[in-house]
């Protein structure tokens, strides 16, 4: 597979061959009848990580999470948590807690009783239960709501009760199924940071399932992108965004402009691709492992493309086009530019100056260009 080379990263557990993974998923497959929900997934997750499983609906991410919690047994393969094989261990004996997408709060219990439920199962002394519940409710800022029933709370408050209930047992591993899915945008952003802070404070390993790529980017130490039951790429948010290993990942995470073309120059430290879609050549300042004359795609993120009225002084990575649409988003503007080849590309520019966009208007002829380090080269 053709992938752009990555720069050196700082030392992190997943790059340390000596590090022992906290969760080891080894070639796990889950079938429901004829349908394969999870297909031969292997994954290592390390202590104190905030790992996101990201994918569209039906990609198998929730099934994988439910296998960690013990609600589903793998059809084949092994799951080890802290070195212990989880096969045959029921959910109520696993050192794992889960926060459900629907929150699954007990409607007949107060907030306090909900949070205390897990501790009562461990037969802890009453005083200790009360102390820990009070402390936990303080941490999620719900102290004054302890006597309320779940239906008397707002969505955000219920989300925090669910979080408190799953954290109060001090699990080594917390599983979160779309934890912020039911919240509105403002609250979601706010809660994202709270969740990260809480995770750092408590030192718990989080595995989060989400379909929201923005959420995954903000929260996680690493992301596992899933598609059709398989893990297609694992990496830090930056890795995934800047160095997607496939067209699927590039298109799933953020927006991207794809230019198909044929490799015409293949050197260890640079590549040139001739692309009819661009109507020119794409020059990439890093090597690509691929056969000569291969058909490749160069992916360029919208924010890495510069739009200008004057012709830029370069031969590669440049094209001429006409502005078809401008969407003003406040912090930035989105331009849809139709190139001479007919392809429409997406460009975003920050609105650094108040009237910067006055220069470029609809139906204006413009030039687009980018730096040779910007494209990521992907094979078909």
């Amino acid at each position: 597979m053709a992938t752009s080379a990555r720069p050196e990263q700082k030392l992190q557990p997943w790059n340390d061959p000596q590090a022992v993974p906290y969760i080891a998923i080894e070639r796990v497959t889950k079938k429901f009848g004829d349908f394969t929900a999870v297909n031969d997934v292997s994954l290592k997750i390390y202590k104190r990580e905030l790992f996101c499983l990201l994918g569209g609906s039906g990609c198998g991410k929730t099934t994988l999470l439910r296998m960690l919690a013990g609600f589903e047994e793998p059809s084949s393969g092994k799951i080890l948590i802290d070195g212990v094989d989880m096969a045959g261990i029921p959910p109520y004996e696993r050192p794992v807690n889960m926060m459900f997408q629907s929150y699954a709060l007990f409607p007949h219990m107060t907030v306090e009783q909900n949070v205390a439920f897990g501790l009562k199962q461990d037969r802890l002394p009453k005083d200790e239960i009360n102390d820990r519940v009070a402390k936990m409710l303080g941490q999620v800022k719900l102290s004054q709501f302890g006597k309320r029933k779940p239906h008397q709370l707002s969505g955000g408050q219920r989300q925090r009760v669910a979080l408190a209930r799953s954290l109060v047992k001090q699990p080594k591993l917390l599983l979160l199924d779309e934890p912020l899915g039911a919240l509105d945008k403002k609250l979601r952003e706010h809660t994202q940071f709270e969740l990260v802070n809480l995770q750092e404070q408590l030192g718990v390993t989080f595995v989060v399932v989400t379909h929201d790529q923005e959420e995954a980017m903000t929260l996680s130490s690493r992301i596992g992108v899933m598609n059709l039951g398989e893990i297609v790429q694992v990496g830090t948010p930056k890795d995934i965004y800047e160095y997607p290993n496939s067209k699927f990942v590039a298109e799933f995470i953020g927006n991207v402009n794809m230019f198909q073309g044929r490799m015409i120059e293949d050197l260890p430290d640079r590549v040139r691709i001739e692309s009819a879609e661009l109507g020119g050549t794409i020059f990439v300042d890093h090597g690509v492992s691929s056969a000569p004359d291969a058909i490749l795609s160069a992916a360029v993120r919208p924010e890495k493309i510069i739009i200008s009225i004057d012709k830029p002084p370069q031969e590669d990575n440049v094209a001429r086009g006409v502005v078809k649409e401008i969407a003003y988003m406040g912090d930035m503007s989105v331009y849809l530019v139709q190139l001479d080849s007919g392809k429409v590309i997406r460009i975003t520019q920050p609105n650094a100056y108040r009237h910067a966009d006055d220069l470029i208007t609809w139906d204006q002829a413009v030039y687009v260009h980018w730096h040779p380090s910007s494209p990521v080269v992907l094979s078909e």
Binding site: F71, P90, M98, A104, G118, Q121, H151, R165
Partner: protein, 340 residues
């Protein structure tokens, strides 16, 4: 112009109906009637709501008032066999017309003074209570199993619960005589296997009454329980398991408390009608069974004492108001819970 026209609220009428409506609305009687009705506070909505109230008035409140009137009358050897409550008497020149009202309290006083009546009430409550508990113990597992089975099975099982209603209630109770009697189905089978030499006396015992009641009223317990258990969110049980709760404890801590409205509704649907039950104790029970339904029948038909029978019936009704109110509370709570 199109063949269809938009009605005033967006509903579509065919062109013909639209024309008829428009003409009707222009006619004076239509507008006059509508104006009157609106003036009296009669709208479409209140008219619809009035139907059940009218029904209750006609078939519950008025008959109840008639029974109440009879309860305060005197027994007569006449037709009808009770005295009138009010009489208009000509008191002659000195007194003029007199409205003479006589309320005989004998019926209600007998309820308290004669042991037979209050014993019958107590015994009815006892039988009703034990039957309700038995129905609950038998019905809960059945309702639970139906609610947790696959959709295809669920429909078949529900059908089987409802199926007995297709036969007459009386026939079904009669069938139990054939099953329970000394040379009936059970005894013949047990004697054929050699487990017993003598037939076990089951018919005309309290046991037979309980069998009959539990059999007849079980669907009334199962159906509300099923509808409650079926809509329970199963992720709650997963959450309980996730928090370290074993399945049996999760049932006791989560499923059972959440099904309480269903338990109450089902119990009331069994308890209330069984208190007044007459057919089952009469056909299956011992002849000396004291139940208020049987007592009522005896006083009314054998004794021809209509006022006394009416007093028994009124007392029974008042007696049942308490559980009925409880039932409505429970249903109200369930409705509220559904809006969470």
């Amino acid at each position: 112009m199109s063949a269809r026209a938009e009605g005033p609220r967006g509903q579509r009428h065919s062109a013909g109906a639209q024309l008829v409506l428009r003409v009707l609305q222009q006619l004076p009687p239509y507008r006059w009637t509508q104006a009157r009705l609106v003036k009296w506070g009669v709208t479409g909505r209140s008219a619809v709501i009035a139907i059940p109230y009218f029904w209750l008035l006609l078939f519950f409140l008025i008959p109840f008032l008639i029974v109440l009137k009879i309860a305060f009358a005197q027994q007569l050897n006449d037709s009808p066999p009770y005295s009138a409550l009010f009489e208009l008497i000509d008191g002659g020149r000195s007194q003029g017309w007199i409205l003479d009202a006589k309320l005989y309290l004998r019926g209600f006083i007998s309820l308290f003074t004669e042991d037979l009546y209050w014993q019958a009430y107590v015994n009815s409550v006892k039988i009703s209570f034990i039957s309700t508990i038995c129905c609950l113990l038998v019905g809960y597992p059945i309702a639970y199993a139906i609610a947790r089975s696959t959709t295809t099975w669920r429909n078949i099982l529900l059908m089987m619960v409802i199926l007995p209603f297709w036969t007459s209630f009386l026939l079904r109770v009669y069938a139990w005589i054939g099953i329970l009697k000394n040379n009936g189905l059970i005894n013949n089978f047990l004697m054929w296997t050699g487990l017993i030499d003598e037939p076990i006396v089951m018919l005309q015992t309290d046991f037979a009454i309980y069998v009959g009641i539990v059999y007849s009223y079980l669907p009334f317990m199962i159906l509300p329980l099923y509808s409650n258990l079926e809509k329970m969110d199963l992720t709650l049980l997963e959450a309980a398991a996730d928090l370290g709760c074993k399945p049996i404890k999760a049932f006791l801590k989560v499923t059972l408390p959440l099904s309480l409205p269903g338990v109450i509704a089902g119990s009331m649907l069994v308890f209330i009608p069984v208190i007044g039950e007459f057919v089952i104790p009469e056909l299956l029970g011992p002849s000396d069974t004291l139940m208020i339904g049987k007592q009522l029948w005896r006083v009314f038909f054998t004794g021809r004492d209509w006022p006394m029978a009416a007093a028994v019936a009124v007392a029974l009704l008042l007696f049942l108001v308490v559980p009925i109110v409880l039932l409505q509370r429970a249903q109200g709570a369930e409705l509220k819970g559904a809006h969470r």
